[in-house]
């Protein structure tokens, strides 16, 4: 074992980590916004919108993330980074919308009816009664979705983006120290995932305490 190759490549790994974090954060924001929008649309009492949203979720969920990223880069002609972020955001948004939708379903119907009886309109019920509760209920499953984004971010490598997995493979091809490189990248991804999980737990505790 020659562990010092990791130290020799610290700058490459650091720049790869920065790119991975950038892709992950942008994708988290994109997929959360898109997923929330889709989940909210699902709550509307419209047959047409419900079917359209269902079709969106099914189509997006059943196409591999790599295919989406390739399509946006090679066919739609986006640059590498926007193609990766948008592709991954689309992909995760379908899962996030499912998570949020189950959150909405878990709230008893009586709450909305009670708010309605108290004179609140639909918008107020949605924003002040349902959404805050959904946010708290869905935090643990959302953490899993965000961790999934960290792992899926490696697909950006296929477009030539020099993120963490790309840099690790570079260590492998330049020094042939694949085991050391793979171990290092495993630990880095694990730390990122634990960081997200920890942050979400803290967030959950804070919201519940309030």
């Amino acid at each position: 074992m020659r562990w010092w190759v990791i130290w020799d490549y610290r700058e490459a790994l650091w720049s790869g980590l920065q790119l991975t974090v950038e892709i992950t954060l942008l994708t988290m924001i994109g997929s959360l916004l898109l997923g929330t929008l889709v989940a909210c649309l699902r709550q509307l009492p419209s047959f047409f919108i419900e079917r359209a949203v269902q079709a969106y979720v099914e189509v997006i969920r059943n196409i591999p993330s790599v295919v989406k990223v390739f399509f946006l880069y090679f066919v739609a002609g986006l640059d590498a980074l926007p193609a990766a972020v948008l592709g991954l955001s689309l992909h995760q948004s379908s899962y996030i919308s499912d998570v949020l939708d189950s959150g909405f379903r878990s709230i008893p119907r009586e709450q909305s009816e009670a708010a309605w009886a108290c004179g609140h309109d639909r918008r107020q019920i949605f924003l002040h009664v349902l959404l805050p509760q959904v946010a708290v209920i869905t935090l643990p499953p959302l953490a899993s979705q965000f961790i999934e984004i960290v792992k899926n971010s490696a697909a950006a490598m296929l477009l030539g983006i020099k993120e963490l997995t790309f840099q690790t493979q570079n260590i492998d091809v330049e020094t042939f120290r694949g085991f050391e490189a793979a171990t290092a990248v495993t630990l880095i991804y694990l730390s990122l995932a634990l960081l997200i999980a920890g942050t979400m737990i803290l967030l959950e505790r804070r919201i519940k305490w309030r």
Partner: protein
């Protein structure tokens, strides 16, 4: 107290398990270096690494079967030994790890012997003499030096063409893909301005009416069959068989079948085969 003990036990178990896995992996990697010729004969199967992204050297046909000059030549080697040839797909990035961990016995790809690679693997005598150039759009400059930024050039991760770019182009902006078809697609879509590639592999992309052409050559490029280090029996057998296949015309026939023309080089030396070749 019990909780504390359990945590300690769990930690100990974790560390122990990791060490055991690491030791087993190292031991397995070491046992992989042995007499490959004897191993192949005993197993009745030669595990040949072949490219799946470099037609006509190696690619996958519509039925998912490896085809090209590499697989055909590997099969000719297998027939000489009287064993079955099993094809394992490789890329620029995976070829050396697969050889190291014993997943392949040899690689019939587009691998150039370099000093850096020789620290980890061994090479046969050059089995193809090719050249490296850049696929460019029709009408673009054929001079390699003209591909400095803002122009972008692409190749695959792990390819030694990255070093050639740095040698022949001032401060090149290099985009690295995992496979050649992706890189050529990026060229077609205007994402990059050129794709560094071996001339033999370029045949699949630069055809009549493809809108693509080749730049001037950067270097003449030898390819060798890659084997595990310190395995003379196996390497000698490959070197000798290669020349025998050249002598009996099999090599030329396979080259013409895939390249559409006779090879413009001679095996072993420009004049003759290695003395003693039957």
């Amino acid at each position: 107290m019990t909780g504390h003990f359990n945590r300690r036990t769990a930690l100990g178990l974790g560390v122990g398990l990791s060490t055991a896995v690491g030791t087993a992996a190292t031991a397995w990697a070491q046992t992989a270096v042995a007499d490959t010729l004897a191993k192949v004969k005993a197993a009745g199967t030669m595990l040949a690494g072949v490219r799946n992204d470099c037609p006509p050297i190696g690619s996958i046909d519509t039925g998912g079967k490896p085809v090209g000059f590499g697989p055909d030549l590997a099969e000719a080697f297998g027939r000489r030994l009287g064993v079955k040839t099993e094809f394992i797909p490789t890329t620029s990035r995976t070829r050396i790890p697969l050889l190291q961990n014993g997943s392949i016995d040899c690689e019939f790809g587009i691998t150039t012997p370099t000093v850096e690679r020789e620290k980890t693997v061994d090479f046969s005598i050059p089995y193809v003499w090719d050249a490296v150039a850049i696929i460019i759009k029709e009408g673009a400059s054929r001079k390699v030096a003209d591909y400095a930024p803002p122009k972008k050039v692409a190749t695959t991760q792990g390819s030694y063409i990255i070093d050639l770019f740095k040698q022949y182009i001032a401060n090149p902006d290099i985009v690295l893909f995992q496979e050649y078809p992706d890189a050529v697609q990026a060229l077609r879509n205007g994402k990059v301005d050129g794709v560094g590639i071996n001339r033999a592999s370029s045949v699949a992309y630069v055809r009549k009416d493809s809108g693509l052409q080749m730049s001037e050559d950067m270097v003449r490029d030898p390819w060798a069959i890659m084997v595990r280090p310190n395995d003379s029996n196996w390497r000698n057998w490959i070197n000798h068989t290669l020349q025998e296949l050249w002598k009996d015309g099999t090599y030329k026939m396979l080259w013409e079948k895939h390249m559409g023309e006779a090879p413009d080089f001679h095996m072993f030396s420009p004049y003759m085969l290695q003395p003693g070749i039957k």
